[in-house]
Each structure stands twice: as structure tokens, then as C-alpha cells.
């Protein structure tokens, strides 16, 4: 056996802590090692070329590289091995960066640990077998989950490239949060004017199937070949007959709207049969089973159904389960706005005139509940308004992160509120964060417009007065950190700039698609810089605020990137699968079936004729659960054979 060993300095990332030359010399003495070298950047072209040349010149038949995480460069060195003429799986990578240099300070101890890690790999690699990657065909269709601006943009990009796309949206309409807004920062574009054409484009695109009021309930399969089950909730409307004339809403037995209108953030009421907003896409009404008398009790005169001359209303309709086969999935499930009730100091839910920013978005919206007139819950028009930043952002007690969009949307709301009301606007910020093209200029414009900016985290909003001028007002108490004293500012209306957080069910969605979440709950990208829209599940991509707070331009850019990645995958026509799968040695299998229910990917079936288990290697993800559980030891996993693992253990301990 002729093993080649290489240790990477990774600049000073590794060599700053580990004595690379000492490890190199140590490895050179280990049995079977024919070549041992160190180099500043093994992943660079010269580094890889060194490996290729050594394999050819020194007839190497095994390769060990001690460097960074295999998730970063395993593939790089496998390719180098193959280029030199070696089977790529005669290679073992040792992670001495993340697992060692980055987490230790004691240089001598870190070097000793690196030697142990290296000896483990060198002992193990002898037992490696030649393996081949399997190539499987890829389904060219793509599923996009979430119909906000991210999902809309990704779906359109893919559809325009000729791919067949299914867009699944949980709500009764697409549009997401952007559909709530009146204007967008910093250009003050009308949000509807730029969004609704894209919504109709989705609806009318021949390559897009739009399923609203629907949720993904099951995901099976693997990269290139996902089988997805979608629950299409019924609206109790025959979608092919409804034309969105709204006669049924007019005819509903509830003469006046009585139930919370979610689209208007509860600032208005709706009937059990509703359409969220005039540009809702698809243009269909929906009947809410929670509030509809017929659906709750079966005892209604069903005036809505009578009023429908197309007979589109049918209370007997049931939810449907639909199956889809796709090659790639883009998740664009968006965010939740922070619930300002959690911030008890600011009086949301206690004082009627304390508003969340999303409520104010509806309040200033020309098609909102007041047609854009800013009239408070007590019927008054505000003469002074306070806007409080960082509600549920940069806060140890709630969410620690900066939500990135709040400074800018607060400025936008300040501008719009001033324009609509002529009120004095007080804007309370910790730091003004305007990092975007022409964003700082927008801040400057607001300074010129005479908005009062006060730097300081607001302590509380209350309704008790210290002076006669404060009577009947909401008082904002804040330490003005520029002026250096505590101020009390009486206002009529308070706007809480809520931060962005992961959706409540992000954890369930994460498990459904088998991807990861960061500590703050947002979906985890594969690499923060180099794979920002990929996930650790091949073929599943993320876009928009489900990955972290971001504004509309960044969301659209990311959605385009996700679409391009999905396109690159499905356009290739085939995909190579890792060979680290399990297989059953038939003669040793006793047919106990203990492995069958354990497999998280349903890759194991039982052959009743032969009384043996059998593993579908295409479905197998190489998790190793079956191999560990098999009582007769008849399940083997490539790259994790007993002798390989024992070799590694022996190497690290000897």
C-alpha cells in the first residue's frame, strides 16, 4: 500500500495553531505512507496538481488530506484523486481546521490532537474500497413553496426558462407581505403597481400551476426525484366556475362584516365568505369554515349559494390530496412579524392608539380599511406620532438580531404618515441602519422633511401624565443619548416597528423538507457566503425571508439565485448520488425486519418470498441507522464498514 499524505496550512487558519511540519514528519513515519507533504493552500490549483503528480509519479493508491471540513473540500480532493488515476473513494479527509485549529489555543496540544486525527485516517484509509457514484435521472419540474414576492419571482424565472413549475401557497391568495404595503422604500414605488402584474403573470403563465389555499403535507424521495403530497384545502367554491364577482359576499346572511379581517391586520371586519383584497390572485372567493354558519351548524339559508348564478358554491366539497413529482424544490415561506404584545413596556394591546407597523401599512394604504385616511381607533386624527424602532430586534429579552428592514420601513412610514396627517413625527432609533443603494439618501430626505429623530431605546409608552400637557396623551419615555438626558414626549399615536422572525411553524417545515434551522429559527443555508440559497438537503433551495430578514430587492435577488440553482440542477438531466449507502448481505440476513421501520427514508423493503430485507440504494441517504441496528450485522454501509471504523478508532487511540 502506498499512501500519500498532505497537510494544508490554510494560510494561518490551521498553521497558526498546528505545527504542520511536525504533523507532516509524524505522518511520514507511519506504515504505508509513501509521500508526506505540507502546503500553504492544498485546495489551490498548485496544491491539487501536487497530489495528481504524486499519484502518477509515486504510484500512490491511497490519499489522506488533513485540511478543512469535508463539506467544503472533500469533493475537490476526490476530483484530484480521480484526475491522478485513483478511485476517488480511496481518499479520506481529516478536518483539522473546524475540529481542531479553530477551537483550540494550546499549540502543542492541538498539534498532538492533529497527529491522532491523522493516524486515525491513515489507518482507516487502508480498508477503503473502490466505489462508484450512481447517476440517476432528474425530473425537470420544480416545486416552489410560498407565494410571496420570493416565490413569485422564482416561479416566473423558472417558468420563463421553460420549466414546469407548481407554486403552492398556504393563503387564499399569492402576494405575501408585499401585498399589504402601500409604498416601498426608498423609491416610494407603489407596491401594488409593481407586484400585481407579477401576480397575474403567475396566474396566466402556461408553465405554472398555481395552488393556493394549499399546503405541502409530505415529501419523499431524493434530489432530482422528489415525490410531494400537497393538501389542497377546499374553499367550498368550484374554482373553475367562480369568476370573483363577489355577489355571494353581498348576499351572505351576515349583513355586516363581523369577523376579523386578517389581511387588514384586524383593523376591519370581513364576512365568512371573503376575498382578501380586490387584486387577490387567483380571483376567487373563499368560505371560512370557522365562521360560516352553514359549515358550522348546517343550518343556514345559504343565500350566498342562491346568489351565485354560476352555481360555484358547494358546501359538500372536501379537501384533496394531490401528488407531484419534481426534481427540485424552492422554499420561499417568508417570515412572521414580531408580536409587539411580547414587549409589555410599549403598551400594545393595552392602549388602543399603539399600532404595529403592519397595521400602519394598512392604515396608510389607499386600498386599506380607511382608504388611506389615518384615523385612530378612538376616531381622532393624530397631531403627534412616535415611531419606535427595534421592537423585537436587537433585544436580549426577545430577538437578538437586527431585522435589517425596520429602519428603512420606519423612515418610509414616517414620510407617509407626515404626508397623510401633517403631524409632528418623532422617530426613536438605536442606530440608523441604511445599508442599501440610495437608502442613506432617503434618510437624508426625511431629515430635510423635518422628522424629529431621537437616538435612544424607548423605555416605555404609558398614559399617565406628569404635566397638564401630557394629560390624555400617550407618553414616550426615552433617554435621548445625543442630548444626554431623559425625555418624555407626549403623542397621539405610537407605531411599533416590529422585527422579523421565523414563522411559528418553521420547525415543522424544516423537518418536512429535512433541512436545518439556525439558532434564531430561520432556515439554514449550506454556506453563508458560497452557497447562500442551497441547503444541506440536495435539490432543496431557500429564498427570501425564510432564510433571514431581508428587504424586497434582496429577496428578489435571492429568489433569482435559487431559481438559477434549481435550473442548473434540473437542466443537467441527471445527478450523481453519494455511494455511502447501505446494502444487505443476503446470506447473513435473518429476516427479522427490525431495520424496516427504522429507516427514516423508507428505503428498506422486505422481500416476503426470500424472507430478506432489501435496501433501495437510490432512496438510502447513508444515515447508518439500519447498519447500527441490524442484530446479525448483515447490513453494511459503504465508507462505514466495520474494519474502516475500527481502523479509525484504533488509529486515534494508539
Amino acid at each position: 500500500m502506498r499512501i500519500g499524505f498532505y497537510i494544508c496550512h490554510c494560510g494561518t487558519n490551521i498553521a497558526g495553531t498546528i505545527d504542520a511540519a511536525a504533523v507532516r514528519d509524524f505522518a511520514a513515519e507511519l506504515p504505508g505512507v509513501a509521500v508526506s507533504r505540507d502546503y500553504k493552500y492544498m485546495c489551490s490549483d498548485p496544491g491539487q496538481e501536487m497530489i495528481v503528480q504524486d499519484i502518477r509519479d509515486n504510484k500512490l493508491d491511497r490519499l489522506v488530506v488533513a485540511a478543512c471540513s469535508p463539506s467544503l473540500h472533500e469533493e475537490t480532493f476526490r476530483k484530484a484523486a480521480a484526475k491522478g488515476g485513483m478511485n476517488s473513494f480511496f481518499f479520506q479527509m481529516v478536518n483539522i481546521r473546524e475540529h481542531n485549529a479553530w477551537v483550540h489555543e494550546d499549540k502543542a496540544a492541538a498539534t498532538q490532537k492533529a497527529k491522532d486525527q491523522v493516524r486515525a485516517a491513515i489507518t482507516r484509509v487502508r480498508f477503503h474500497k473502490a466505489l462508484e457514484k450512481k447517476s440517476v435521472p432528474v425530473n425537470a419540474n420544480v416545486l416552489v413553496v410560498g407565494g410571496g414576492i420570493a416565490g413569485i419571482h422564482a416561479a416566473l424565472t423558472l417558468a420563463n426558462a421553460g420549466k414546469t413549475v407548481t407554486l403552492v401557497e398556504r393563503d387564499s391568495t399569492i402576494g405575501g407581505h408585499m401585498a399589504l404595503f402601500d409604498k416601498t422604500f426608498p423609491t416610494l414605488d407603489c407596491a401594488a403597481c409593481i407586484l400585481t402584474p407579477k401576480m397575474s403573470a403567475v396566474k396566466n403563465h402556461p408553465n405554472i400551476t398555481l395552488w393556493t389555499y394549499s399546503e405541502v403535507s409530505k415529501v419523499e424521495g431524493y434530489v432530482g426525484n422528489y415525490k410531494v403530497t400537497v393538501k389542497r384545502k377546499t374553499r367550498y367554491i368550484k374554482e373553475d366556475l367562480c369568476v370573483g364577482c363577489l355577489d355571494c359576499i353581498e348576499a351572505c346572511v351576515f349583513k355586516e362584516p363581523k369577523f376579523r379581517d386578517d389581511f387588514n391586520q384586524g383593523l376591519s371586519k370581513r364576512k365568512p365568505v371573503y376575498m382578501s383584497f380586490p387584486q387577490a390572485t387567483p380571483k376567487l372567493v373563499t368560505i371560512d369554515p370557522e365562521t360560516c354558519i352553514q359549515l358550522k351548524t348546517g343550518k343556514c339559508r345559504k343565500s350566498c349559494a342562491e346568489a351565485c348564478d354560476r352555481k360555484a358554491i358547494d358546501f359538500e366539497l372536501k379537501d384533496e390530496m394531490k401528488e407531484l413529482e419534481v426534481g427540485a424544490i424552492i422554499l420561499a415561506t417568508g417570515f412572521s412579524a414580531f408580536d409587539p404584545k411580547r414587549h409589555a413596556y410599549y403598551g400594545y394591546g393595552r392602549y388602543p392608539n399603539v399600532y404595529s407597523a403592519l397595521e400602519v401599512e394598512r392604515l396608510v394604504n389607499a386600498s386599506g380599511p380607511t382608504n388611506g385616511e389615518v384615523v385612530l381607533r378612538d376616531g381622532k386624527h393624530p397631531k403627534a406620532i412616535g415611531i419606535i424602532h427595534c421592537v423585537g430586534s436587537r433585544d436580549e429579552h426577545t430577538n437578538k438580531w437586527c431585522s435589517r428592514v425596520c429602519c428603512m420601513y420606519s423612515l418610509k412610514l414616517a414620510h407617509l404618515l407626515k404626508e397623510h396627517t401633517g403631524a409632528e413625527i418623532y422617530d426613536f432609533y438605536i442606530d440608523m441602519r441604511t445599508p442599501g443603494k440610495t437608502y442613506e439618501e432617503f434618510y437624508d430626505r426625511l431629515l430635510q422633511e423635518g422628522v424629529h429623530f431621537i437616538r435612544g431605546r424607548v423605555a416605555e409608552v404609558n398614559d399617565w401624565a406628569m404635566t397638564p400637557e401630557e394629560e390624555g396623551k400617550l407618553v414616550i419615555r426615552v433617554e435621548d443619548t445625543l442630548a444626554g438626558f431623559v425625555r418624555r414626549i407626549p403623542v397621539d399615536m405610537v407605531v411599533l416597528s416590529q422585527g422579523l422572525e421565523a414563522r411559528k411553524d418553521a420547525g415543522d417545515v424544516r423537518r418536512l423538507f429535512n433541512i436545518g434551522c439556525g439558532t434564531e429559527g430561520f432556515f439554514q443555508e449550506r454556506h453563508p457566503k458560497l452557497a447562500p440559497v442551497s441547503t444541506f438537503a440536495d435539490g432543496i433551495f431557500i429564498a427570501g425571508a425564510c432564510q433571514g430578514p431581508k428587504d424586497i430587492p434582496d429577496t428578489v435577488a435571492q429568489a433569482g439565485a435559487a431559481a438559477a440553482e434549481a435550473l442548473a440542477l434540473v437542466d443537467a438531466g441527471h445527478v450523481e448520488l453519494e455511494p455511502n449507502t447501505s446494502h444487505v448481505v443476503e446470506e447473513e440476513c435473518c429476516g427479522c425486519k427490525s431495520c424496516v421501520p427504522l429507516c427514516p427514508y423508507s428505503a428498506i423493503s422486505f422481500d416476503e418470498a426470500k424472507k430478506k430485507a432489501s435496501i433501495n440504494e437510490v432512496l438510502c441517504k447513508g444515515c447508518g441507522v439500519c447498519a447500527a441496528a441490524c442484530p446479525s450485522g448483515s447490513i453494511r454501509q459503504n465508507l462505514f464498514e466495520d474494519e474502516e471504523l475500527f481502523g479509525e478508532i484504533e488509529g486515534v487511540l494508539s
Binding site: A344, Y345, G347, R350, N462, D463, W464, A465, M466
Partner: protein
């Protein structure tokens, strides 16, 4: 259920009505309180800033004595509750203080292992005895009365774990159990003026004034408190406050007095007559 009772100086003096009503209510609920043997001053906040080790040792002496009994200590006075819990934290987290204090205790033949839990009567009533058990004893609900529940600054911050530090609600629940209505009172954890009322009266009384004025504005018929100093500051200076700012007049009562009357206990056992502003008239059903 049995507890040690640590009165502190206030409940034996200006807060006598608190002691009387507290003991009467617990007696009526069948929960015995045994006064801590040979207790001493908690040190309050003043001593803390003068001589750290001595002040901790002073408070720890009470904890050491209590530990021998193996029972939770009830400290009804907010300052005592704060200081004893602060001492507990300091002993747990600071090895230097722990060793100095343990030396001081050792000189007096005492030792403290850190096992005592310092509780507030609100905590015990809600979490140990339970709201249901309290409700069962209510025979004389104070129907139609509106009170402002006032917790003061020291009880729920920073050491309490039994209630929300921003918007505490345990007393609200007990007042409601007594049949009265709690007015919306966002000032419930604001400072009453504390010792400033004695040292810089124009500042201290201004704080008291806002509390009373706002309670009156919200149509409360009394402020219900948990702290002897708050009760004293708010009750004792209303004439001066009225002449300094504007006319205020509002009874300031302990939550135990409200509970006691609703439980049908005689007002003589509850110290109702001890208040400066007469509270008798508002502590009955309308």
C-alpha cells in the same frame, strides 16, 4: 405547609397593620407562620452601600437561623425580600463574599449552606396555597369596588421569579378573588419615592403624587400595596402632597387587609383603623 415568618422592622412598627392582617389571613387559611427566632434587621438598602461584607453578614445571619428549621422564609416587606434574596444571590455567585460572610457567621457559631428559599406572601398565596383555596374562603366579596394594584419597585425586580417584572399580576388575581375590580394601572411598578420622601421631600412627594393622582383619575377607590414603605409614603403625606401639587385623597391599604375583609375577618384584627386616610368606607361591598 408551614413557613417561617420574617417580619423585619417595618412590620413591627409603621407596618403593624400589614403584620396583623397577614397573620390573620394565613391563620384563616390554616397555614401556620412561625416567627423566625432571634431575627435581626435585614440591613435594608442603606447599609448595603456603606459596608458590603457586614451588610451581607447581617442578612445572612437570618438565613443561617432559618436554615436550621428547614422551612421557606416568608418576607412580606419588599425591602427585606429584596435584601435577603440579594444576599442569597451574592453568596451563591461570589466566592469572596461567601467566604467572608461564612467567617463572620462562624464567629457567632453559625453556618449557612444556601438552602433557604426566601418567598413573598403573594408567591405563597398564588403558587403554594392556590387561588382556589383562597376563593373558597371569600364570604364577603367586595363587589363594586375598584382598586389600583400597586407593587412598587423592589418586589418584582430584579430577583423575583414568581411574577412578571414589567406587568406583575399576582396581586391583581387576589384582589379579583376578593370580589373587587382592578383598574388598569400601568404605574404598578413605579417608584413611590422611597427614602427620598424623608430626605428630599419635593422629589419623593412628586413621585407619590403621580401614583395617587393617576389612581384617582382611573377611578380607583384605594391603592392596594404589598410594601410597608410604599404604604407609608402614599398614606402619610397626602396633606403635604395636596398643598404642594393638587388635591389628592385616597386610602392606601395592604392586599392582606383587602383579602381579610373579604374573608369575613373582623376589621380590628386587620389593622384597618391604623391608616391615616380612612379606608373602612371603601373596604366593603358597595
Amino acid at each position: 405547609m408551614k413557613y417561617l415568618y420574617y417580619p423585619g422592622c417595618s412590620l413591627k412598627g409603621s407596618g403593624k397593620a400589614y403584620e396583623e392582617s397577614l397573620l390573620a389571613v394565613f391563620r384563616a387559611l390554616g397555614v401556620p407562620l412561625a416567627e423566625l427566632d432571634d431575627w435581626n434587621c435585614c440591613g435594608a438598602t442603606a447599609y448595603m452601600s456603606v459596608e458590603e461584607t457586614k451588610s451581607y453578614a447581617l442578612a445572612a445571619r437570618n438565613l443561617a437561623i432559618a436554615e436550621r428549621e428547614g422551612l421557606d422564609v416568608i418576607a412580606p416587606c419588599s425591602a427585606c425580600y429584596l435584601v435577603l434574596n440579594k444576599t442569597q444571590h451574592a453568596l451563591q455567585e461570589n466566592a469572596g463574599i461567601r467566604s467572608r460572610v461564612s467567617g463572620a457567621l462562624g464567629a457567632a457559631g453559625l453556618s449557612y449552606q444556601g438552602h433557604v428559599r426566601v418567598r413573598h406572601p403573594l408567591d405563597v398565596l398564588i403558587n403554594d396555597i392556590g387561588l382556589d383555596a383562597v376563593k373558597k374562603k371569600i364570604v364577603n366579596p367586595l363587589k363594586g369596588r375598584r382598586f389600583a394594584p400597586y407593587y412598587g419597585c423592589q418586589l418584582v425586580r430584579p430577583y423575583s421569579t414568581f411574577d412578571d417584572p414589567v406587568n406583575p399580576v399576582t396581586m391583581d388575581k387576589l384582589v379579583a378573588a376578593a370580589g373587587a375590580e382592578c383598574v388598569e394601572y400601568p404605574l404598578k411598578t413605579r417608584c413611590c419615592g422611597g427614602s427620598l420622601t424623608g430626605t428630599v421631600p419635593e422629589v419623593g412627594q412628586r413621585l407619590s403624587y403621580i401614583l395617587i393622582k393617576e389612581a384617582m383619575k382611573r377611578k380607583a377607590e384605594a391603592i392596594v400595596t404589598v410594601c410597608p414603605l410604599c404604604q407609608f409614603n402614599l398614606d402619610g403625606y397626602q396633606d403635604q402632597i395636596s398643598s404642594r401639587f393638587s388635591e389628592v385623597r385616597l386610602p392606601i391599604v395592604y392586599f392582606t387587609q383587602v383579602l381579610g375583609l373579604a374573608m369575613g375577618l373582623p376589621s380590628g384584627q386587620l389593622g384597618i383603623h391604623r391608616g391615616i386616610i380612612d379606608a373602612g368606607a371603601v373596604l366593603t361591598a358597595r
